[in-house]
């Protein structure tokens, strides 16, 4: 019996770039990813409502960011740029005709595995509210209330006017008011960044 008990076939036809060494640019990009990945995934999670999809969104945004890294990092705002990519990307994902390809997950979605019944109810309310929002309003709400951005910052990220941000915020809150009139009854917290 040959010693080759396991046949292995290795095909390496990748570009020569495979063999290039680490560069300072790549290190800088990697450092950026390490520094911001949690925030980006959180943003993706809030935009999509799905943790894994949120990671994919962040991953894809980084993928788009990488080719422009030199330019973006020179501008000094790669984080803002990545956020902007994520928001735009999510809008395009939602607008695209939905296709289901191989999508296997380990367990059925179970977003409420932690916490007590009150928390489950609260999360359900949030989920129902976010689900009613168009992608733009959801992005506005996420940036303003989750990431505590000001109106101006939100407008800059979304590439729209401050007035649009305000109106979108008001509409989204109107949805919330109609959906759960008692939503804020037992909730308190610091005021989000900026003013309405």
């Amino acid at each position: 019996v040959p010693s080759c008990v396991q046949y292995e076939e290795a095909t390496r036809s990748g570009p020569e770039a495979v063999l290039t060494g680490v560069t300072a640019t790549e290190d800088a990009f990697a450092a950026f990813v390490r520094h911001r990945q949690v925030e980006l995934v959180r943003l993706g999670w809030a935009l999509t409502g799905d943790r894994q999809l949120g990671e994919d969104l962040a991953q894809t945004a980084l993928q788009r960011l990488w080719p422009r890294w030199d330019h973006v990092s020179a501008s000094g705002e790669p984080y803002a740029y990545a956020q902007r990519i994520m928001v735009n990307l999510w809008s395009s994902w939602r607008g695209r005709r939905w296709r289901q390809m191989e999508r296997v997950v380990e367990t059925p979605p179970d977003r409420h595995a932690e916490g007590d019944a009150d928390r489950l109810d609260a999360n359900d309310e949030v989920d129902r509210w976010l689900a009613t929002l168009p992608s733009r309003q959801r992005a506005v709400i996420t940036l303003r209330f989750l990431l505590d951005m000001s109106v101006d910052e939100t407008a800059e990220r979304l590439g729209c006017s401050a007035g649009t941000v305000k109106s979108q915020t008001a509409k989204a809150l109107g949805h919330l008011r109609a959906l759960a009139p008692s939503f804020a009854a037992d909730r308190t917290g610091p005021h989000p960044g900026g003013t309405t």
Partner: protein
């Protein structure tokens, strides 16, 4: 309540709903000792892939007494027995496999659940590991792996195993990564890729394709009006029937079924992004692995794709 109050409440609720995620590691590195800087990426990737293959080899096993031709199945939660009928074989060669297990790429986070497939004694099972083969071009799955950082190209490693008794083979997957690349968690997929005793030709497939088409229509509460089929490659099929810009770098033979239904259906059971409407349309498009006839992709649309671009179209059914 004022908008400011409601805004504060919304902020509090959102932060409670979406806390800072833990376990985020988009930039996982699997380090190996670099012999040369130019080799480091390749070595790390190869080591990761090899580790997966070895782990997979250990995990290939059988549970008792299932007979019949190997049939692909979905993920299973059953844990693999340690002693099984699959043994490593020196007799295998590429193309000789009766079953294949593909690892990789379906979803960024992958599927860590063992995948099972029925095998019969004498079957050769091929385990293929590919990294980066999809080249970031599968937005429909939101499955991306930063190829240009990872640069794993079309590397692949195949391992072959022979089933020494009939039963259910289980394959497990492990996370793999490569130097400087984003984490790629491999996904196991088992499918029959060829069997000397199985005819993958048109005659033997027609009946099964028709049955699949009729079943798919009924599953969505509709009746098939026409069912067209065409044989092509996976990459070509996805290019033609999917949205522009979507492609996969796989050239496995597939059947493409286009089912026109008698009325517009709504796929309420389809998974979709929160807030998105359920897919609906008059046409169901299925991409089936030509050997196993397992669905690899599907879509719903109101506009028929031009299947003639894929080859000779066969009308399996017309009402």
């Amino acid at each position: 309540m004022t908008d400011d109050d409601l805004g504060r409440a919304a902020a509090t609720a959102l932060k409670a709903r979406f806390p800072e995620p833990d376990g985020v590691d988009l930039l996982r590195s699997v380090r190996t000792e670099p012999r040369h800087p130019r080799q480091r990426t390749l070595l790390a990737a190869a080591a990761s892939v090899a580790a997966v293959v070895v782990v997979t080899a250990v995990a290939l096993a059988l549970s008792a007494g299932r007979s019949g031709h190997p049939v692909a199945s979905g993920p299973s939660r059953s844990s693999p027995p340690l002693n099984g009928p699959l043994q490593k074989t020196p007799a295998c060669r590429p193309g000789a496999a009766d079953s294949t297990v593909r690892l990789g790429g379906a979803h960024l986070l992958g599927n860590r659940v063992p995948v099972k497939a029925g095998v019969k004694s004498g079957d050769v099972v091929r385990v293929i590991v590919r990294l980066g083969s999809r080249r970031l071009t599968v937005p429909a799955t939101q499955s991306h792996a930063l190829h240009f950082i990872c640069s794993t190209g079309s590397q692949s490693i195949s391992a072959y195993f022979r089933a020494v008794r009939t039963g259910s083979a289980t394959v497990t997957t492990r996370t793999a990564g490569c130097d400087r690349c984003m984490q790629v968690q491999l996904v196991a997929h088992i499918a029959v890729v060829g069997n000397n005793n199985a005819c993958c030709g048109l005659a033997s497939s027609n009946g099964q394709l028709l049955k699949i088409g009729l079943t798919a229509a009924r599953a969505h509460g509709a009746e098939a009006e026409t069912i067209d089929a065409v044989r092509s490659t996976h990459a070509h099929a996805v290019h033609v029937i999917m949205d522009a810009g979507i492609s996969v770098s796989r050239d496995e033979p597939v059947w493409v079924l286009q089912i026109k239904t008698t009325h517009e259906f709504v796929c309420t059971s389809c998974s979709r992004p929160p807030g998105a409407n359920a897919p609906k349309g008059h046409y169901i498009q299925l991409v089936l692995d030509a050997s196993s006839l397992q669905s690899t992709d599907n879509g719903f649309t109101n506009q028929a794709a031009d299947l003639t671009k894929l080859g000779h179209v066969i009308t399996l059914f017309s009402r």
